[in-house]
């Protein structure tokens, strides 16, 4: 791979892996939702995210030029090779944790895809434009839940506040940038995450305040590392479950 392809491959892995792991986490709720309607809502969101992951990973494989398919990338890479943001690999916890995680991530994807739909890379722009409609709905659904859980009963408020406090330290990683971003921003392909960070904060502050939740201090220590494949302990367990079939029966097909 020459210079630009190398960073573009990396960038597509970040986009694809984040959606893939978020989708896998939501899929864990399948059959366990608090009510049937929410079970379906979460698996719908999961399918949207996995759809996004498929396109980004397929594209990453094409850029790499080693004939790796979307399946090869999803099922045959190890933890250190994954580039998903740390937030999405965190455990689902109770319903409040899942919704808070998904709310943070949906607001992030909403702003990210809005920017990327103007990317000079035609494939990224097309996927982003298509996916924007999906994540707009995810954001609406999760925002409505945060409002109801935060401004609900004493217990729902407490659990939602706990979820917010516990997940906050993983939100800095969403906006972490390195030379991959710098190079692609120069080429008009990537999104400047510093730019959307302010919007993201404004967006979530509005909902969290309405939901009667306290936003943790901006000086909170933030955990980072996803850009270089440094993950929390949870990703390994996710991959073990997600990849087991392909690892045990290499090349297995439906």
């Amino acid at each position: 791979m020459d210079g630009i392809n190398k960073v573009l491959f990396e960038y597509c892995l970040r986009l694809g892996d984040s959606s893939l792991i978020a989708g896998q986490r939501l899929a864990e709720w399948c059959g366990h939702g608090p009510i049937l309607e929410e079970d379906i809502a979460m698996t719908n969101m999961s399918l949207d995210l996995i759809g996004q992951a498929r396109t980004f990973l397929t594209y990453a494989g094409e850029i790499e030029g080693k004939e790796r398919t979307e399946d090869d990338l999803a099922y045959l890479r190890d933890t250190m090779e994954f580039r998903n943001v740390l937030l999405v690999e965190q455990p689902n916890g109770d319903f409040a944790v899942t919704m808070m995680k998904q709310f943070f991530f949906s607001a992030y994807l909403f702003l990210l895809y809005k920017e990327l739909s103007n990317s000079k890379d035609a494939t990224i722009a097309a996927v982003a434009a298509k996916s924007l409609k999906e994540v707009t709905y995810h954001l609406r659904h999760t925002s409505q839940w945060i409002l109801r859980l935060g401004d609900g009963t004493d217990e729902s408020n407490k659990r939602t506040q706990d979820a917010l406090n516990d997940l906050w330290m993983y939100t800095g990683d969403l906006f972490d940038m390195d030379t991959v971003d710098a190079e692609l921003i120069k080429a008009g392909i990537a999104c400047d995450l510093n730019k959307i960070k302010q919007e993201w904060q404004a967006m979530i502050t509005e909902i969290l305040t309405k939901a009667k939740l306290n936003i943790p201090s901006p000086d909170t220590w933030m955990m980072k590392g996803s850009r270089t494949g440094k993950h929390t302990e949870y990703l390994g367990y996710i991959l073990a479950e997600m990849q087991t079939l392909q690892r045990e029966y290499p090349g297995a097909k439906w």
Partner: protein
Amino acid sequence: MEENNNSTQWDLWEVFTQKRTGAPHEHAGSVHAPDKEMALQNARDVYSRRGEAINLWVVPSEAIVANQPEDVGNFFEPSNDKIYRHPQFYKLPKGVELE
């Protein structure tokens, strides 16, 4: 509707979907939801997840008024025993073709 204070279920909402512009909204089924916005979202997820609708209505089930089964006689039968109320009673004039 019977009150059930022990119920942990949310209220029931009836869902109506419109398949294309100008088409009538048709009853698709029902969903549980705590309020109207969530009812709309649940309806979207349960009844339009493969693009079956372009518009949705949700109505609290308790807002729907239905006749009682024992009303069948006085509600519907009077219109059935007068054959001239049905179009089949009238013979088509010669030369008129049915579409």
